[in-house]
């Protein structure tokens, strides 16, 4: 069974639709810690504010996810769901993440340095980072990215981003490199939206469903 956690942040329709399109069996949208404990795979989608993840702790879901990961179930965080795997985010300093990965998510810088006519010039960096950007795959052994060509484009929409860490499977560049895919054993995350990233996204999502 795949448990898709509903923590009242954003829109689950597209994620569930994509899972069903991939013929994933037994997709359940839930807020129940017991359902999460009983699932083989857990998906934490999320668009919106990091603050919304506070509800996970309040409903006892953080603990359920921790137990589920410890017994070896597969976990996939999408967008804010990836960020939640880190220790926290400057977007909501009072809300703690799961802490599976070390580091804090931060807002994109407001400028980036570009070389123009041989000189370094600070140019404005728009935020949110919205649109199709490429995956620089740094861990060819990644199971999530199996069959994905380096440089493939996926769809992002976010203003905070996770740092690159040893578990980072791909980075994406926007005002510097950030973690676009992360993977350590059964704990996985994607900053982009696989359900909105056409064939590339569906392939990555399928790689998770097929685990």
């Amino acid at each position: 069974m795949i448990a898709v956690i509903d923590y009242r942040a954003g829109n689950l329709t597209s994620v569930v639709k994509a899972l069903r399109h991939l013929e994933a069996r037994d997709v359940v949208v839930t807020q129940s810690p017991d359902v999460v404990r009983g699932a083989d795979k857990v998906v934490l989608p999320g668009v919106g504010h990091f603050q919304a993840t506070q509800l996970l702790a309040d409903l006892g879901l953080t603990e359920a996810v921790r137990e589920s990961i410890a017994k070896g179930s597969w976990f996939l965080g999408i967008c804010v769901g990836l960020q939640w795997l880190f220790e926290g985010s400057t977007e909501a300093p009072g809300t703690r993440g799961l802490g599976a990965f070390t580091g804090i998510c931060e807002h994109f810088p407001s400028n980036e340095i570009k070389q123009i006519d041989g000189r370094d010039i600070a140019v404005e960096l728009k935020s949110p980072h919205v649109g199709w950007n490429s995956l620089d795959i740094i861990r060819p052994d990644s199971r999530l990215l199996r069959g994905i060509t380096a440089g493939s484009f996926v769809y992002f929409t976010h203003s905070w981003r996770a740092p690159a860490v040893p578990a980072t499977a791909s980075v994406t560049n926007y005002g510097g490199d950030f973690t676009s895919t992360i993977e350590r054993e059964n704990v996985m995350g994607m900053q982009f939206h696989p359900e909105k990233s056409a064939d590339v996204g569906l392939q990555v999502f399928k790689n998770f469903v097929d685990l």
Binding site: K17, V130, G131, N133, K196, S197, G201
Partner: protein, 256 residues
């Protein structure tokens, strides 16, 4: 590298895709769900469905059309037209939209921008601005509502800034002066809005050739550009358009 987005737009009336010239003369161009899927398959980076008659006829958005179009669409899908309340927005999201575009309703009650953003995230709220300036300078460009029928007295750049401050995730800027003319975007106005806000700006109105897109991404500083009739009648597909853009150095999603 973040690429420039090509967005296919479906103007829908009475459940059919139509395309007007400067918001009037309407031509039937097909079934919205079928066209949405075709655009995605042909390489569009996003699909937008605008129910162009919803506001002035007082109808709700065509939820069933949205549902059918969203069913097999795995690129971002925006729906606009007839969303007046946060509840209207919820129904459209539930039907499968990823983003909502609001226009008249945001001007009537600007708090709506923040209300939808609170529930669904700022990234899900696009504020659409219909602009007309005739032969005046960009600073005099005025916001119109109700499918381009009513002037509001608001200045375009000022309204774009307010929409951003109230939590819009993107601005969809349509020039009514250039819309449907296939003679190029209003690059000057697009650049003025793009420079005034931090959020992405989608340029709309006037696409007729790949060169027009290259201009609006360069001089017009647009983050994305929208086109309707250029695709419907087989002028070119998004994929062909992007190949042409790539050949002149515009960063686009290819292969797609």
């Amino acid at each position: 590298m973040l690429t420039k987005r090509i967005i296919a737009c479906l103007d829908v009336r009475g459940g059919r895709v139509v395309k007007g010239v400067q918001f009037v003369d309407i031509i039937d161009a097909g079934d919205p769900a079928e066209l949405a899927h075709r655009h995605a398959a042909e390489g569009a980076d996003e699909v937008v469905l605008l129910d162009i008659t919803a506001t002035h006829e007082g109808r709700g958005t065509l939820l069933e059309t949205v549902r059918r179009a969203a069913a097999k669409l795995f690129v971002p899908f925006t729906v606009g037209g007839g969303v007046r309340t946060a509840d209207d927005a919820t129904a459209v999201f539930d039907a499968g939209a990823d983003k909502i575009s609001i226009n008249s309703a945001a001007i009537a009650r600007p708090q709506l921008i923040g209300e939808i953003g609170t529930s669904f995230g700022a990234q899900a709220v696009i504020v659409a601005i219909d602009a007309r300036r005739g032969t005046n300078g960009v600073e005099d460009a005025e916001v119109y509502v109700s499918g381009g029928r009513k002037p509001t007295g608001l200045r375009v750049v000022e309204w774009a800034r307010e929409a951003e401050a109230r939590g819009a995730g993107e601005i969809l800027l349509t020039s009514m002066d250039t819309d449907g003319m296939r003679d190029g975007f209003d690059c000057e106005l697009t650049a003025a809005v793009s420079e005034a806000v931090q959020i992405p700006v989608i340029a709309s109105g006037g696409a007729g050739s790949a060169e027009h897109f290259a201009e609006v991404f360069g001089r017009g500083k647009a983050d994305a550009a929208l086109a309707a009739s250029i695709f419907h009648f087989g002028v070119t597909s998004s994929r062909e358009l992007k190949a042409q853009l790539a050949s002149v150095g515009v960063s686009v999603r290819l292969p797609c």
